[in-house]
Symmetry: C2
Subunit: 577 residues, 2 copies
């Protein structure tokens, strides 16, 4: 027993040389590691009926990537492109092209682990500035070359995949500069290739770096924060983990510029106006199908980390928990910033990860009626002015207590969650090294449909034997929220994985939820889009597409369901036999 307890699986911490399969599919920083802790490991081992010895031989995929797929561009096109961007800024090797076409979705990792390379672009280019970008769009339109955009590569919806090949524009190399900062308006204008940490660094250090009087934050912290770009946030309608206070990206954008086949488009830059439709909200979420985002003006907030107040609660039941959660969101005293409610199964996992499971405190909680597979953790924090955060915490606590919750804050649960908020995905590779697959799907609901969607989707996932299905709400509004499903299964084959994924998407749709709250649609969820938004909204999308991109060159091949192939319409994709 003592021996068993001290066993540690062979989690890989060695080098991941560039040029290998592992380097391609690994989550972001090749030198950062986060391994499952003992509680999580034990859960996995027991769930999948494995033994410690099953964790001795990881499949690391450290082999050198050896595909050599000829580019679809001819040599005169490559020369002409080099003439536009400079020789250093054009790459046609298969590794670079795969990197620019595969995202961070499970399907991308699985394909690389199974040595499936498909739907990659023909070249990757990094324009130096807006003028070069305009030339590139013009050139691609003239030569009928499809065009995709790469920012941070963190899509989990096959957003950049190129079934029709073409040129991929990498915005992250040069186009990541601050264009303007306006302290009176509290806005910053940046090029879309800027990553989250750089943006926050500018804003947090605005006096030193931008000549400002105060310090600011953008308030947008998606899990991919460290390696996703501002442009990616905008074109996919992303959300940060603090969106309940700061808003989703569509709430944070004041204006944008796109380079489209019809020319440059600049949206009006007012917080609200009454001048026809909202042109900003037409362009946000267009996922590269209308044109290339070239500039974004974001609203910013005062940087006041000292005011942040954290809280966490444990409820006896899921129903009490989500009722309290909704009551907070409809309480009209402001909103928490992070506000994250775990369902019973996610709570049990969290209790293990946060080292509460099996402690004397756990025994006490159980004796008080907070029982495993019934109890639910709610954690969060409040941001803003000091009096405001104090009040939001006080009111939230009062509502939670009324619904039978006990305050968990002394355990530091929220702090533990915060410390791992950006690094948890690093565990994905660890698990998959031993054939355990962890993946996520998310959707948007109104409160009334929320219990049904949760139950129906869970039913589908749990119909598979030996499955972990953890669910949380993490982005909320007075009228509804997101629902985020994390499922862990023993990997068998891509086909089996897709069968499960497709059946979850079917269940999301059948139970009335929106197909995405913040991941976007990409090519993965595209076959389900029309089923949700209806033909009349799809027709609006098609009309806008026909207007901007009559030649269908902007991120074509099924994105947003605009030009689904027959195969895609049947919800089955090319790599399936």
């Amino acid at each position: 027993m003592a021996n068993k307890r001290s066993f540690t699986p062979k989690w890989y911490e060695g080098d991941t040389p560039s040029g290998t399969y592992r380097a391609l599919f690994r989550w972001h920083d090749l030198n950062v590691f986060k391994h499952p802790n003992r509680g999580f490991y034990t859960l996995l081992r027991d769930t999948f009926e494995l033994t410690d010895t099953d964790f001795n031989h990881p499949k690391l995929d450290l082999e050198v990537f050896d595909f050599d797929i000829p580019s679809g561009l001819n040599s005169s096109q490559i020369q002409e492109l080099e003439g536009i961007v400079g020789k250093d800024n054009l790459k046609t090797d298969t590794y670079s092209r795969t990197r620019a076409s595969y995202g961070a979705g499970m399907i991308d990792m699985l394909r690389l682990r199974e040595r499936i390379v498909e739907n990659i672009c023909d070249a990757v280019t990094a324009p130096k500035n807006r003028e070069v970008l305009i030339q590139l769009v013009k050139y691609c339109c003239a030569k009928k070359i499809p065009l995709t955009v790469y920012g941070g590569g963190s899509t989990v919806t096959r957003g950049m995949e190129t079934p029709k090949g073409g040129l991929c524009i990498d915005m992250s190399v040069h186009m990541r500069r601050v264009i303007r900062f306006n302290e009176t308006d509290q806005t910053i204008t940046v090029e879309p290739g800027m990553f989250g940490p750089e943006l926050e660094d500018y804003l947090n250090h605005a006096p030193e770096k931008l000549g400002a009087h105060g310090r600011y934050t953008c308030g947008h912290f998606p899990q991919s924060f460290e390696h996703s770009s501002v442009g990616g946030w905008v074109v996919t309608r992303g959300a940060g983990q603090n969106s309940t206070y700061y808003g989703k990206i569509e709430d944070l954008v004041l204006s944008q510029e796109y380079i489209t086949p019809q020319g440059a488009l600049r949206t009006p830059a007012y917080p609200r106006c009454a001048t026809g439709p909202d042109y900003n909200q037409i362009m946000i979420g267009s996922e590269g199908t209308f044109g290339v985002l070239s500039e974004v003006t974001l609203k910013v907030f005062k940087y006041m980390p000292k005011n942040t107040r954290r809280f966490s609660y444990l409820f006896k039941t899921w129903e009490e928990a989500y009722t309290a959660y909704r009551e907070v969101m409809q309480g009209e005293f402001g909103y928490p910033s992070v506000f994250r409610l775990s369902d019973p199964e996610e709570t049990d996992t969290a209790m293990r990860i946060y080292h509460i499971h099996g402690t004397p405190a756990d025994s006490l909680l159980r004796s008080l009626g907070y029982k495993p597979m019934q109890r639910c953790i709610l954690l969060g924090s409040a941001d803003g002015d000091s009096a405001y955060t104090r009040m939001v915490k006080r009111k939230t606590t009062r509502i939670c207590r009324k619904h039978g919750a006990v305050v968990l804050s002394p355990f530091g649960v929220t702090g533990m969650w915060e410390r791992s908020r950006f690094t948890d995905p690093y565990m994905r590779e660890d698990l998959m090294d031993f054939g355990i697959l962890i993946d996520t799907l998310e959707c948007a609901v109104t409160w009334d449909m929320f219990p049904k969607v949760h139950a129906e989707v869970r039913k589908v996932v749990k119909s598979q034997p030996k499955t972990i299905c953890m669910t949380h709400i993490s982005h909320a509004y007075p009228q509804g929220a997101n629902l985020y499903f994390i499922f862990v299964i023993k990997y068998q084959s891509i086909d089996d994985y897709l069968d499960l994924q497709y059946s979850i998407l079917d269940a999301v749709q059948a139970s009335g939820a929106a197909m995405s709250h913040h991941h976007g649609i990409g090519k993965q969820t595209a076959p389900w889009l029309e089923g949700q938004i209806g033909k009349s909204c799809m027709d609006i999308l098609r009309a806008l597409k026909a207007h901007f991109d009559p030649q269908n060159l902007m991120n074509p091949g099924g994105t947003l369901g605009l030009d689904l192939s027959k195969e895609q319409q049947s919800k089955r994709w090319g790599f399936r036999k």
Copy 2:
């Protein structure tokens, strides 16, 4: 002197029989009167260098409306329409057609006072329900009959005017029912012909009228509240006076249904999602040019009038006042609900109307440095949870004091404003009865451009001799606000009035503001729209129009600048010689 003081102008309080010109142009309820009080009257008399005797002979326009303009529909069309809607629900008399085509704008009143009747529809119909509405849209498309919609008739932008004639659908007769109420989601679904008071009555009395547990409010109180429709709010992107807390109508809509020439369109009904562009925000603000709104689902709030906290302050200077105002909006402790800052000239007028002008208190204020034509009133209130409103008021007061303000609340200024918030427009007729014209124009700004827009527009108005120009901010955001101009001039002719209006619109545009914050564009401001949003946004609007309404039958004739005539492009309209 005593004699002079007791003089009261001959403000009309007699009957306004239906069928008269006055009944057509009078603000809403023919039995409600609000006259300028002594302070305002004295200001007007002195500004325009009039004497009391000039206020003895009002021009009342109580003559019977005697136009008889043949309908452009032929008898078989009229028969067919009667077949669809029932004989009782179709009117072709000129009075009804004028009422359905003229709004509540100054230009509408002036034309009726000058006996100019033009651009009226050919018939007015009141569909009984959604099915009849669908038939009407189909019929008009088949017969190429232009179609406009009448709700409350409160447009001030010539929204319903029909330069191309056609059929006007009056939604206010039958289509004003509650369709659904969802207490869990806090939403209400209504037909678009419902007026503000009825909506509030349902929500405030939700336990009695909707079988709910709690009481609710929509939080949307435009000045036209008592006689404007939910549908009008939505299609024009309107705002209520409490929008700084509750949001503009585009923030309050969860979903909509439109009957368009392409069929019925239902928008997704989630508080947020990531499924392409925001289809709700494409339809809101379409001003009847894409189709007819048939159903709206609105977010609602808890009705907690006891929690409302009122406040008012007096600043020494405009700059200190708007700096404090912005600081409140960027303070991150929530937002006031009503939040209304008057510039020096509006403040002086308010001091007279609120009976502070000339009192010992006024002398004291002056001696403390709060001087006429420099000082500025800020009034407002906070709505929401009790602890929240207490905190918002406390923080707002602290910021205002820091910027040199004195607290005015003991004078009950906010209460006085509230009591007259919906009735002030009734004074318009009183003034015009004696040839004094009062009108408004509004725009949207970011904070950085705000002082310039205010100064430039004022300069244009004040370049006219003997002019009152009052300005306030009343709808605010962290990044900017609206700017609302009220100007009072001695009326000379429609041409002179339009010259001034056009020069104000030119100044709004030249100084960088958006052409409307919440009145919409209609046909009045349409010639300026492309100049503000740019050709590329106009092209989006045109593409959407071509998609929904390829025959150009939905509110045609210049609305939103979609089909401006040559005359309109020159910014000059038909009734000008």
